[in-house]
């Protein structure tokens, strides 16, 4: 439905489309006797700005009653016009007021949206000792500005798409034209346009629509809260997605090895970076397998323990009423509960909870003979190891539980078979034509230079072959 040119009627029509109490109208008369109406959404329109940029200039207006003339009078840098009432209503909902007057064949949209956002801070999930400390926040505009500040290139394309029937969430698709494969850009755009869901509250919702195997346990989309990492990935030839309302940006195609890397690796000597990456991998493997092997060894193959350790363990478990697997599951269960509770609780209570959980509960449970000391040590070690690769916790914690259950029922051979299936799943998973386990499988020797072992920056002269970027050279 188009605008009629009758101010009261048009304002009423918008109010009819948006029958909410926070949709307000403001009428005023200019010096020349012309009447104006502004339709706006109360909490998300900056009324002070509206007064300065729109009302004050128009109070002294004595010019012609045409849209062009009125537009020229406004001092706002963001002024647009629209004929369609539904679209005008959408703008009002987005926080941009609509200016109407008699005889106007278009509504004037003024960009005075009030933006609430927290300050840019270092993300708690990705702390770096060396390197940039900025993190994304919940506002898509601020986040894209952080990206633009780092990539001052005309090739950086930021496309805004609206996703979600009711939330109309802005999704910024960021890529470097000529570096990100156009097939990836096309497929992501087409997948985003096909999403038909009412609300997108967070970027994690999008992942379900962007991956090729939505039911797989394997992670298929990269995530980051840091603009420097986000830009580095885009510069490699990947595509990034920033979702309004979410501080977690998505990058794709995803490679498993990227979660073993951290931004700090690029700011320290390569030997240290390589060592840290290997350490992260070992920590993750230990976290998944240590409890399982401990159980399998205790139940089926005591030879796996050195003799002195075996004597210590047998001394500790002598009076434990539970079977080894039940004991380990109980300790794991308590750890997971403590973990969940300490994350959700207020900081002060969380600290007290850690003391109660770690010291009081653990100590007392051992003294009371419910659980053995080795079980607590192993689960604690596994818990710490899991957090060495924080981006994979959702996957690794499930794998640890699966391994534990298999170890308790089938033993070491079961662990080996589950590992085999897991490896098979990993090597056969690919997204946007890129295998998740590359550059290890399929083996890409050149890409190994920035995998577990990190070479000097000057050796990384080409973009990863795996990503199939049309722009191959990074360093000339």
């Amino acid at each position: 439905m188009n605008i009629t040119g009758k101010r009261d009627q048009d304002a009423g029509a918008i109010k009819e489309i948006l029958p909410a109490e926070d949709i307000l109208t403001f009428d005023f008369r200019a010096a020349g006797g012309m009447d104006f109406t502004i339709v706006f959404t109360d909490p998300i329109t900056d009324k002070e700005l509206l007064g300065v940029l729109v009302v004050r200039p128009l109070l002294h207006y004595e010019g012609a009653a045409t849209v062009e003339a009125v537009k020229e009078r406004l001092t706002s840098p963001e002024v647009r016009t629209e004929r369609d009432l539904d679209k005008l209503a959408e703008e009002v909902l987005a926080g941009n007021p609509v200016l109407l007057f008699d005889g106007a064949d278009e509504g004037i949209i003024v960009g005075t949206k009030k933006i609430f956002f927290r300050a840019i801070a270092e993300p708690s999930t990705d702390v770096a000792v060396k390197g940039p400390r900025e993190g994304f926040i919940e506002d898509v505009k601020i986040n894209t500005s952080l990206v633009r500040r780092r990539l001052k290139s005309p090739e950086l394309k930021i496309e805004f798409l609206k996703v979600g029937r009711r939330s109309a969430t802005f999704v910024a698709m960021c890529y470097l034209e000529g570096t990100t494969p156009s097939a990836t850009v096309e497929e992501v755009r087409s997948r985003l346009e096909r999403i038909d869901i009412d609300v997108i509250p967070d970027s994690s919702y999008l992942t379900h629509f962007l991956v090729h195997k939505p039911y797989s346990l394997i992670k298929q989309i990269g995530t980051t809260e840091k603009p420097d990492i986000f830009c580095a990935k885009i510069a490699e030839g990947k595509l990034g997605l920033i979702v309004d309302g979410s501080p977690i940006a998505l990058t794709l195609p995803y490679l498993a090895v990227e979660d073993l890397q951290s931004s700090e690796d690029y700011f320290v000597p390569q030997a240290r970076a390589s060592l840290t990456r290997i350490l992260r991998l070992l920590a993750m493997v230990t976290a998944i397998y240590l409890p399982a092997f401990y159980i399998a060894a205790q139940l089926f193959k005591l030879q796996l323990f050195p003799i002195k350790l075996l004597l210590t363990i047998s001394g500790s478990i002598q009076n434990i009423p539970l079977s080894p697997s039940l004991e380990m599951l109980l300790v794991l269960f308590v750890l997971e509960i403590l973990n969940e509770a300490s994350i959700r609780m207020p900081k002060y209570v969380g600290m007290a909870l850690s003391v109660v959980g770690a010291l009081v509960l653990g100590e007392t449970a051992v003294n009371a003979g419910f659980v053995s000391t080795p079980a607590i040590i192993i689960i604690a070690f596994s818990g710490i190891g899991l957090y060495a690769v924080p981006n994979l916790i959702e996957v690794t914690s499930v794998l640890r539980l699966i391994m534990l259950l298999v170890a308790g029922s089938v033993g070491t051979y079961g662990i080996i078979l589950v590992t085999a299936v897991l490896l098979y799943l990993l090597v056969t998973t690919e997204n946007y034509g890129v295998p998740v386990l590359a550059p290890f499988s399929p083996l890409r020797r050149r890409d190994l230079k920035d995998s577990l072992i990190k070479f000097n920056l000057t050796a990384l002269d080409r973009r990863p072959k795996t990503l199939k970027s049309p722009n191959k050279r990074r360093l000339s």
Binding site: K301, L302, Q303, F305, L417, L423, Y424, S441
Partner: protein
């Protein structure tokens, strides 16, 4: 994803295929050839490498096995030949599967576990069989380091305890004993047949047949090294050491302090072995898919039937392993080099079928 690259094929031949020869084959050869076990194994390897070379020559035609057979034998003939190949592969899978079952029962458990302890292998095998065979290429990429580390670790831990003088004097067992050792080890050499269902999916590069064969021989070199260390460690009692690779490193001095650290290498090789043992079943199912269609329902049907039968056999033959081994290594040994060789000759020099 649809093809196996030349590198992946070479990894299979050099790193994956050798692990199937480490469980009972060493003690079987020692039984016949004693200190000349290396000659027997080398002869078996040479014989098989010739067939591997011929299969890789046939792969240059870049057509699937079914397409190649149909050109020579017609559609019905091709289906019969593929069915026979599938049967051959299921037969070939039997001995490695049963010996792996024994290995699992004796090495992974302190006390003899239930017959069903090995049952999860068939779930794994069924999972693999249901998926396209060309996916294995990537698997070989990732299994290569496991195999390399496993071999290197076990050799490093056991070489110090080996007395290589036990292998001397060379040729003392006589030609007859060496030949018997070769003949009785043939049932472990069917790697060329595993490659046949992959025809048409192998990426063709320059001199691939030669490179592939050299890789296979390099893998054979690693097996010979393990055999030398095995005989060096156990000498005359080697024939009683049934699970060679899991035994050779137990005399490493660090074991007393650190526990059986060699188990980590054994686990790595067992992981590779699980894939190798499932591969004949996977290849056999692939033959059936090529011959009779590969709709998901059919693929699921072949997978369930094949793994179900193999599981039943593993239970039924639980107390008849020696008889089965004797049948495979003595009575049916000649089939293992002969059948793939015959098939590959048909592919290479057979006349074109009239209707082709």
């Amino acid at each position: 994803m649809k093809t196996v690259s030349a590198r992946q094929l070479c990894f299979f031949l050099a790193f994956i295929a050798p692990v199937g020869k480490l469980i009972l084959m060493p003690s079987q050869i020692v039984f016949d050839a004693k200190q000349d076990l290396l000659f027997s194994a080398a002869l078996s390897y040479l014989l098989q490498s010739v067939i591997v070379f011929l299969v890789l020559l046939a792969a240059k035609k870049d057509k699937t096995l079914f397409a190649l057979l149909r050109e020579r034998l017609g559609t019905v003939g091709a289906r019969v030949a593929l069915s026979l190949l599938a049967l051959f592969l299921f037969l070939a899978a039997l001995l490695p599967m049963l010996e792996q079952k024994l290995l699992v029962q004796s090495v992974f458990y302190d006390t003899l576990p239930s017959i069903l302890a090995f049952a999860p292998f068939f779930l794994f095998s069924a999972y693999l069989c249901f998926h396209p065979i060309a996916h294995l290429g990537r698997m070989w990429d990732i299994l290569m380091p496991f195999s390399a580390v496993g071999f290197a670790g076990l050799i490093a831990l056991s070489a110090g305890a080996a007395d290589f003088g036990a292998l001397l004097p060379v040729g003392a067992s006589g030609m007859g004993a060496i030949a018997r050792g070769t003949l009785h080890s043939l049932s472990w050499f069917f790697d060329s047949a595993l490659l046949l269902p992959l025809l048409g999916r192998i990426e063709q590069t320059k001199r691939l047949p030669l490179k592939g064969t050299l890789c296979y021989l390099a893998g054979g070199g690693a097996v010979l090294l393990v055999l030398a260390v095995f005989y060096g460690v156990f000498s005359d009692i080697a024939l009683r050491q049934l699970f060679a690779f899991s035994r050779i490193s137990k005399y490493f001095p660090g074991v007393a302090v650190l526990g059986r650290i060699d188990y980590f290498f054994i686990f790595a090789l067992t992981l590779v072995m699980a894939f190798y043992c499932a591969m004949p079943l996977h290849a056999g199912v692939e033959c059936l898919k090529q011959a009779f269609g590969d709709t998901p329902v059919r693929a699921g049907g072949y997978t369930l039937a094949v793994n179900g039968v193999m599981f039943t056999l593993s239970v039924l033959l639980n107390y008849h392993f020696l008889r089965t081994q004797t049948f495979m290594t003595h009575t049916a040994a000649w089939i293992f080099p002969l059948f793939p060789a015959l098939l590959v000759f048909v592919l290479l020099i057979g006349r074109k079928h009239e209707k082709a």
